[in-house]
C-alpha cells in the first residue's frame, strides 16, 4: 500500500470539516484584539448606529405583533429569511439523535431551494439503516403536491405523493420568522457556540409537549443549530426542519427514535448559504435536471 493510498484511506475517515472557514473575529476577541477597540472613531460610528437601531426598535414596538419584544434584529431575521429570485439556498445539516435506538444515530441532510418560481427544491438524505438503497433524494416544487424520489441504487425517478411544502418546511430561517410573527417564539438572549456568537430563540408547541431551541448567528440570523425534544406531532409544531420531506418517502428508516416519539435531536447547520442562480446551481434544486437520464417509473 503506497503513501498515496494511505492518504486516500485516511481521507475517507477524516473528520468532516469541509467548507468550514472559522471565525476570525472570535480569534481577535480571544486574543484581546477586538477590531472595534482599535478604531476609536469607528466606536463613535457604532454608537450612532446603535442609537438609531434602538430608536427604530421603539418605533416598531407600537405596531409589531412579536411576543418576544420587537426589535430591528427580528426584522432583520425576517428580511434574510427568503432566498431572492437570483439565489439558491443551500443547506447541509448533520442530525444527531439522542434517543437510544438500534443503528446509527447520525444522519446527513442536504437541501437546495430555488428562490425563483416555480421554487423547485431538492433534498438528499442518507439512509444508513437501508444501505442497499444508498442515498435517497426527493424533489418537487413549493406549494405543489407531488414530486419525485431518486435512489442511487435504482437509478430511476419515482413519482411521490409529497405534501405541498411551504418554504418554512425547508428553511429554518423562514420557520423562525413565522414563529416570531405568530408569537410562538421567545428570544432568550445571546451566547457562544464554538466561539461563534449566537442568539437563542425558544419555541414551544401549544401543548407544551414540544420544545425547540434555535441558535442563529447573532449578526446574520442564519441557523446554526436546532435542538429539539418533542413527540411526532409536536415536532412539527416546533419546526423540526425537513420533517415533511424526511418522512414523506419512508425516510423514517432513518429512525430518529421510536415511531411514537419522543425525539431528541440536535441539527447542526454545517452550511447555510445563498448561491448565485447560475445554470449549474439551478440544477442543484431540480431533481430531474440532476438526473436527466433517469427513467420515470
Amino acid at each position: 500500500m503506497s503513501e498515496r493510498e494511505i492518504t486516500t484511506l485516511l481521507d475517507r475517515i477524516a473528520p468532516d470539516v469541509e467548507g468550514e472557514t472559522g471565525d476570525w473575529e472570535d480569534v481577535l476577541r480571544r486574543g484581546g484584539l477586538d477590531r472595534h477597540e482599535r478604531h476609536p472613531l469607528r466606536q463613535w460610528g457604532l454608537a450612532l448606529v446603535a442609537a438609531a437601531i434602538a430608536a427604530a426598535g421603539l418605533a416598531l414596538g407600537v405596531t409589531a405583533p412579536w411576543q418576544s419584544g420587537p426589535s430591528v434584529l427580528e426584522q432583520a431575521a425576517a428580511a434574510i429569511s427568503a432566498p431572492g429570485p437570483g439565489q439558491i439556498l443551500e443547506e447541509r445539516i448533520v442530525i444527531q439523535s439522542h434517543v437510544r435506538v438500534p443503528g446509527p444515530r447520525i444522519f446527513h441532510v442536504g437541501v437546495w431551494l430555488d428562490g425563483a418560481p416555480p421554487h423547485r427544491y431538492r433534498a438528499t438524505l442518507d439512509r444508513p439503516l437501508l444501505d442497499s438503497l444508498g442515498r435517497a433524494e426527493y424533489g418537487g416544487m413549493l406549494g405543489r403536491p407531488g414530486g419525485f424520489s431518486y435512489s442511487a441504487t435504482d437509478k430511476a425517478l419515482d413519482p411521490q405523493g409529497l405534501a405541498a411544502l411551504r418554504q418554512a418546511d425547508l428553511d429554518p430561517a423562514a420557520f423562525i420568522r413565522d414563529a416570531i410573527t405568530s408569537g410562538r417564539a421567545k428570544v432568550e438572549g445571546t451566547s457562544t457556540l464554538h466561539g461563534r456568537r449566537v442568539r437563542q430563540i425558544l419555541l414551544t408547541s401549544e401543548s407544551s409537549a414540544g420544545l425547540a431551541r434555535y441558535l442563529v448567528d447573532a449578526k446574520t440570523y442564519r441557523p446554526v443549530r436546532v435542538s429539539l425534544i418533542a413527540g411526532p406531532l409536536d415536532a412539527y409544531r416546533v419546526g423540526f426542519p425537513f420533517l415533511d420531506v424526511t418522512f414523506a418517502g419512508g425516510i423514517s428508516q432513518m429512525q430518529f427514535g421510536p415511531t411514537t416519539g419522543p425525539y431528541a435531536l440536535v441539527c447542526d447547520f454545517v452550511e447555510y448559504r445563498y448561491l448565485p442562480r447560475t445554470a449549474s446551481n439551478r440544477k442543484l434544486a431540480d431533481i430531474r435536471a440532476m438526473h436527466p437520464h433517469a427513467p420515470v417509473l
Binding site: M1, R12, D16, G22, R30, I106, P128
Partner: protein
C-alpha cells in the same frame, strides 16, 4: 533570514495563516481530540495565543511552524485535562466505516498517531512534522513508516 516585523504586519500574517489553512488546522485538531467541536476550540485558542504572544514572533520567521506546534500543544493539553475518556478518532458520522483501520489508528503509540495526522491531515513535510511534533527530523520517516505499516496490516486483515 530573520525578519523583524511591525505589529500590524504580524497580526496580518497570523490572520492570513488562519484564512489560508483553517481547514487543515481544524482537521488535525479534530482528529487529535476525536471531536470536531473541541477541535474548533483548539484552533481558536491557538490563533488567539498567537495574537497574545506575537511579540515573541517578531523575530521568528517560521510563524506557521510556531502555530502548528502550538496547536499540537493545545490539543495535548486538552486531552490531558479531560477527565472523561476521549474518543481517539471520531469522524464524520460514519463510524461504522473501516473499523479495522480506526482500531489500528487508535492503537498506535501517541507519537506515531500524531506524526500520521501531521502528515496526512495537516499535509506537512518532514521538517514541518518534526517542528510541530517536537521530534528530530531524522526520526520522522521511521515513525511514519511504522504507523503506515500498522495500517497496512489492518487493511490486510480486512481483505483476507
Amino acid at each position: 533570514m530573520v525578519g523583524v516585523r511591525a505589529d500590524n504586519d504580524l497580526v496580518a500574517a497570523i490572520e492570513q495563516a488562519y484564512r489560508d489553512d483553517y481547514g487543515r488546522f481544524l482537521r488535525l485538531a479534530a482528529a487529535m481530540l476525536g471531536d470536531v467541536d473541541a477541535g474548533r476550540d483548539a484552533v481558536q485558542e491557538t490563533f488567539a495565543r498567537g495574537l497574545r504572544e506575537r511579540q515573541k514572533l517578531r523575530h521568528d520567521d517560521r510563524l506557521k511552524g510556531w502555530l502548528w506546534r502550538t496547536l499540537v500543544n493545545v490539543c495535548l493539553s486538552e486531552k490531558r485535562r479531560r477527565t472523561a475518556p476521549v474518543p481517539e478518532f471520531q469522524t464524520n458520522g460514519h463510524a461504522e466505516d473501516w473499523p479495522e483501520v480506526r482500531a489500528a489508528i487508535a492503537a498506535l503509540p501517541e507519537r506515531q498517531r500524531l506524526v500520521l495526522f501531521l502528515r496526512h491531515y495537516a499535509d506537512l513535510d518532514y521538517r514541518g512534522i518534526a517542528e510541530a511534533a517536537g521530534i528530530e527530523r531524522g526520526t520522522v520517516a521511521a515513525t511514519l513508516h511504522a504507523a503506515h505499516h500498522k495500517i497496512q496490516e489492518a487493511m490486510t486483515e480486512v481483505t483476507l
